[in-house]
Amino acid sequence: MADCDAFFVQVARLEDPEGLGREPFLLVGGSSARGVVTSASYAARAKGVRSAMPTARAKRLCPEAVVVPVPRGACVERSRQVARVLSEHAPVVQPASIDEFYLDLTGTERMLRGEDLTRTADRIRREVRARTGVAVSVGGGTQRLIAKMAVGAAKPDGVHVVPPGREAAFMLGFDLKDLPGIGPAFLAKLQRRGLGSVADAVAVERDWLVRWFGEVRGRWLWERVRGIDPSEVDARERRKSISSERTFFEDVRDDDVLERRLLRLCCSVGRQLRAKELRARTVTVKIRDHDFRTRQAGSTQPEGVETDRGIFAVAASLLRELRNRRRAAVRLLGVGATNLVRQSEGTQTEMFDPRTTAATGRETDKDRDAARAADHVRGRWGRSALAPARVLEAPGKDG
């Protein structure tokens, strides 16, 4: 795996080498009272600053830090450049996020004439740096999980390769919380059983792990702590979800305002779905109340939706449901689309004209055509060229 070091910070510096390029303590993220750190320079990390930390707290830990917004466009462009260089070195490159890429070198053994994997990795790292300016760390191993864990050990700007046969021993050096796929809820369960480190879990027989955590998760854990990860690197791996969320400058109480914000999020999710020629059968709405209680509701439809109107019809009723259960001031609102179906899978034709059967929520061909036409207009005149009037009523003030 190739992972760009403090990617957003690096890009911000590359964009402004004379200014930000010289700032040792640089934070990228929201600078408002409620903003959070997206990425911190290594010097700032040494002072205890972490990503996802509220910016206000980061500033207390590191008062000399300079905070700049995420250079989104530049990040996407640099990420593409990195991917291009990587794809010249590996037959399969799978982006795992904007700054992480899995490379499958299977089949290149003869081409590399038995070159040591560490040397190959180092060569790739140097070339990415030379051609894009971006420093990457490379972790290597026989499986995805090992490469991912190794890249942590390689950072910053280094290489770490786990030789074949040493996977289990390598894993023993980690805590369970370091494993990808172990979240806070699972971690709490593990702790209740007295399992903190990988070594703790390796000592437990598989049958017990299955009994404690269930068939699927028990087996999964048994395999992972031994460095076994059957998943393959797949460049075509499908997107499983598309989502959009917003933290507000000030908590929002007014239902009408929330609905308008929701519509705007639905438009963003819809645009991403259509750009990828996908439809979503499941729409979810997430709310974080002022007291940080996070709640979520979802609904699965027989037919996938791709238009802003279709997504909003489902999302609006979910939002009402969540608000009816607890009517607190809202800090964050999000919309997610999962259960994604390719548009090319075809459209189920309808027996009755939807207008006559009062199928209010259902997306029609007309809706789809209109959405595509609107995308076309936005493609030509810019994103803000066309938006639902309701969104325009509330001039954007959210962070």
Partner: protein, 367 residues
């Protein structure tokens, strides 16, 4: 209340009635069943307020009375009791039960708290043979919608005419319609939109040879099946004009053995996507090719001999809709008819001796 009843009779009545009790309810009395002494027996009722089930079984009643007690608990007790007469006495709101050397005291609620049954006058109704009703239900009810945004489609349309009755169900993507030559026998024509759950209880609780009486009252429909009654709330609204969507000019006709086609579609169905279940059928002279391509899973291809003489045709469907229709069709042969890849396809029994028709809307393919 003081009565004696056989364990079997008690259990038979309870398992008939408790099937309609809601799994969760905010109204405690709905978890209970109403036990009433009537002439020569005991009558047991249960409801979830949309559906009522009531049955009467013979019992030896010494002192009349009535009470409501937790239905599922009483049913479990009746199932586990030894094979011996069961005696029940009421003490306040508590039901004391003795069976052999077993003794149970079950806390109940006063009978007055139990919701009243809909008032229906069976004298104003009609009667049909259960066998015919069963067939109508079995061949149509599967096609109802489960989408709450269109409540009328969640019910089965029951059209009652003087010399014929029909049932129709659809979810807007597939439709099933069946008619039998047995009508109301003189009563005026009526249409009802009936929740399929009520129909499945009617099917479960009646023998094919039984005579079923039906009658409507207010917004409810009642069925009398011997000593058992089923009452249901009707779905309000206007059923869409389904006749209008049934194509009359589908002239590309394919005939084949139902079982072979059903097996092939099931085989292909394994490889379809969980989301759309898309299967593509290509009809050409005397054969149909079936193709499934699911990007993350793989492909499936199959061929079947059919009688087909029309122009070559490529059409895609949700395989589940085809499977469901072919499963209930019942005939040895099926006749499928098409017009174009975007228009409704009809599927009928090949023998043509029953008035049964299914309609499936295709998946429109993207160019």
């Amino acid at each position: 209340m003081d009565l004696t009843i056989t364990r079997q009779n008690l259990h038979r009545a309870l398992s008939a009635v408790t099937a309609c009790l809601p799994a969760k309810t905010s109204l405690p009395v709905l978890s209970n069943i109403l036990v009433e002494c009537v002439d020569g027996g005991v009558r047991i009722s249960g409801t979830d307020l949309d559906l009522w089930l009531r049955t009467t079984v013979p019992a030896d009643v010494k002192t009349p009375g009535s009470v409501t007690v937790p239905g599922k608990k009483l049913e479990e007790l009746a199932r586990e009791m030894r094979e011996a007469p069961v005696s029940m006495q009421l003490q306040g709101d508590q039901l004391n039960i003795h069976c052999g050397r077993s003794q149970f005291k079950v806390n109940g609620l006063p009978a007055e708290e139990f919701p009243a049954l809909p008032e229906i006058d069976f004298g104003q109704g009609w009667s049909v043979v259960a066998k015919e009703l069963h067939e109508l239900i079995q061949k149509t009810a599967f096609a109802v919608s489960d989408e709450e945004s269109r409540p009328v489609l969640m019910g089965v349309l029951w059209e009652l005419r003087e010399d014929e009755m029909r049932m129709v169900a659809t979810n807007g993507h597939r439709l099933a319609r069946m008619a039998v030559k047995a009508g109301s026998g003189g009563a005026e024509g009526k249409d009802f939109i009936v929740p399929p759950l009520a129909l499945s209880h009617v099917q479960r609780l009646s023998d094919p040879e039984d005579e079923v009486e039906a009658a409507a009252g207010g917004n409810h429909l009642g069925f009398r099946l011997g000593a058992t009654e089923v009452y249901t709330r009707l779905i309000e609204g206007t059923y869409p004009n389904y006749e209008q969507v049934i194509p009359k000019d589908n002239d590309r006709v394919a005939r084949t053995t139902r079982e072979d086609l059903a097996r092939a579609v099931r085989r292909m169905g394994v490889m379809t996507s969980d989301q759309t279940h898309k299967i593509k059928l290509s009809f050409a002279a005397e054969q149909v090719r079936m193709n499934v391509t699911t990007p993350d899973l793989g492909e499936a291809h199959d061929e079947l001999d059919v009688e087909y003489a029309g122009e070559p045709l490529e059409i895609a469907f949700n395989a589940v809709y085809l499977q469901e229709v072919l499963k209930v069709m019942g005939s040895e042969e099926v006749k499928m008819a098409f017009k174009t890849p975007e228009r409704a396809a009809t599927i009928e029994p090949g023998d043509g001796d029953s008035d049964y028709l299914c309609l499936v809307m295709p998946l429109r393919l993207v160019d």
